[in-house]
């Protein structure tokens, strides 16, 4: 492990939420790169490989986060990805990634609710980065 700060890519189309998440993740001691859409996220991934990525689900399309996640994993199979969204609670859709069927098509490692507390987020990130 190098001593350099790990780089986290954040993609969310809500500029306010993106700013807040950026602050939160920076305060946890990471470097941050942000993008505001699936398309922008893809072009960032073309030029650099982050250590971890957090994607919003509904951006250009209702499933942009999944698609971005799929493409990111194709490029960097070992990149840990978190999908964070407000979708679950109100739609009743639950995508937990613990059953093999879902894991096969949702290429993310973790699915998180927005509004997560910094300490929870920190724990999840550390787990994924094996810190």
């Amino acid at each position: 492990m190098s001593n350099e700060k790990k780089l986290v890519l954040l993609v969310d189309d809500d500029p306010d939420y993106l700013f807040q998440l950026e602050m939160m993740v920076k305060n946890l001691g990471f470097r941050v790169k942000t993008a505001e859409s699936q398309a922008e996220g893809e072009s960032v991934l073309d030029t650099l490989k982050p250590d971890l990525a957090i994607f919003d689900l509904m951006m250009e399309n209702e499933d942009s986060g999944f698609i971005l996640s799929y493409k990111a994993k194709r490029k960097y199979p070992d990149l840990p990805i978190i999908i964070a969204t407000a979708a679950t609670a109100e739609t009743g859709f639950t995508f937990d990634l613990y059953n093999e069927n879902d894991k096969a098509w949702i290429k993310a490692d973790l699915y998180l609710e927005k509004g997560i507390r910094p300490d929870q987020l920190h724990r999840e990130i550390n787990k994924l980065l094996k810190l």
Partner: protein, 373 residues
């Protein structure tokens, strides 16, 4: 060609083979159906066998004799009804009995056919049953699709409502924790953004109420002779504080008789949407031209802007619920994504139509044609 499975329940072999003969080369078609129906026949000589078949394979139509050796036809019908099996039942009766007819109808028999019947009569009855079945299934399918669309609408809506709540909550927490120190000024931007998000949420709720009123048909329309030039002027005035701020010049040109029979409130919604979009999605210092042309059978409204325009792909989606074109150029523009949906529904109510031409970075032209009622 779709095939309907017809279960013939009769203890007389002659009837079963007769029906078989009549229907085996027969097909039914209607102009409103995509495809014709033909018939595949299954035999049962008792009610008990019929129930076994109903439980083990797909059946669309049951031709059911009432007088059977074991359980009788009415009992089979009761079973079908209780199990809510999706079939159309036609009772075959050798004698007309009012009592039986009432019982059978109460249990959901679709039709009766007296025995003996001619091939012609059987074909006519089966044609009716097929039509009934088709319509029933179509209705159900459409209801299910309606539910699906409603569900999608609700899930996107809740997302749109929850996002600003998350944003505001996030800012409040940052302020509460004094994340940027003790100076109030450090938080000005966050307070400003929170207020903007709340305003956006309020607009969304207002738009939603408009939309609900249109869809439930509860919005009472008060039609009267309305001069669209006046409505246009009002919409331009309403937007004025914002257009001055953006230094966008809005020009109104009217030509001919621009009055028509309409609900002024609804016209206002149409014009507010057209004008506010033309100003909002303009560049600073841009222009908007609102042109009204009274023609013999319609009034044509053409709103031209010098704004950011849209790509072909964007144009295809703009009338859908909650669709907002997201790009660097639109990120600071607030909107519910329902404005054009509402406007389109309004225009539809007047049997009018909307055309959009647009070129990225050049501008857009919205043309609304409203026929004189």
């Amino acid at each position: 060609m779709a095939t309907l499975n017809v279960l013939v329940v009769d203890d007389e072999p002659g009837i079963r083979s007769g029906i078989n003969r009549i229907l085996s080369n027969y097909s039914v078609g209607y102009p409103f159906m995509d495809e014709d129906f033909d018939f595949h026949l299954i035999d049962a000589e008792t009610g008990e066998i019929a129930i076994d078949i109903l439980n083990s394979q797909a059946v669309d139509v049951v031709l059911l004799d009432n007088k059977l050796p074991g359980m009788d036809g009415i009992e089979v019908l009761e079973y079908i009804n209780k199990q809510q099996i999706d079939v159309a039942v036609m009772m075959i009766t050798s004698f007309a009995s009012l009592d039986l007819a009432i019982k059978a109808t109460r249990n959901g028999a679709y039709n009766f056919m007296p025995k003996p019947f001619t091939p012609q009569e059987l074909r006519a009855s089966i044609e009716n049953v097929a039509k009934h079945l088709f319509l029933k299934r179509m209705t159900r399918k459409m209801q299910e699709e309606g539910k699906q669309i409603r569900f999608q609408f609700l899930s996107v809506l809740s997302h749109e409502l929850k996002s600003p709540l998350n944003a505001v909550e996030g800012y409040l927490k940052m302020i509460q924790e004094r994340q940027f120190g003790d100076k109030v000024e450090e938080y000005d931007k966050m307070i400003e953004r929170s207020l903007a998000r709340l305003k956006g949420m309020r607009n969304l709720i207002m738009d939603l109420l408009d939309l609900t009123k249109i869809e439930s048909g509860k919005k009472q329309r008060k039609l009267r002779e309305t001069d669209l030039s006046e409505v246009a002027k009002m919409a331009i005035d309403t937007m004025e504080p914002y257009s001055i701020q953006r230094a966008v010049k809005v020009k109104l040109i009217t030509d001919g008789n621009t009055s028509l029979l309409a609900d002024p409130d609804e016209m206002e919604i149409i014009f507010n949407n057209l004008v506010s979009n033309a100003v909002k999605y303009n560049r600073d210092g841009g222009k908007v031209e609102v042109k009204l042309q009274g023609q013999a059978t319609s009034v044509v409204i053409r709103v031209t802007d010098t704004g950011i325009g849209m790509s072909k792909e964007d144009l295809e989606t703009i009338f859908q619920d909650f669709v907002r074109i997201k790009s660097n150029k639109t990120r600071d523009i607030t909107g519910s994504g329902l404005g054009l949906t509402i406007m389109k529904k309004m225009v539809d109510q007047y049997n009018g139509h909307i055309e959009v031409e647009s070129e990225p970075d050049k501008g857009s032209i919205f043309t609304v044609t409203l026929p004189r009622l």
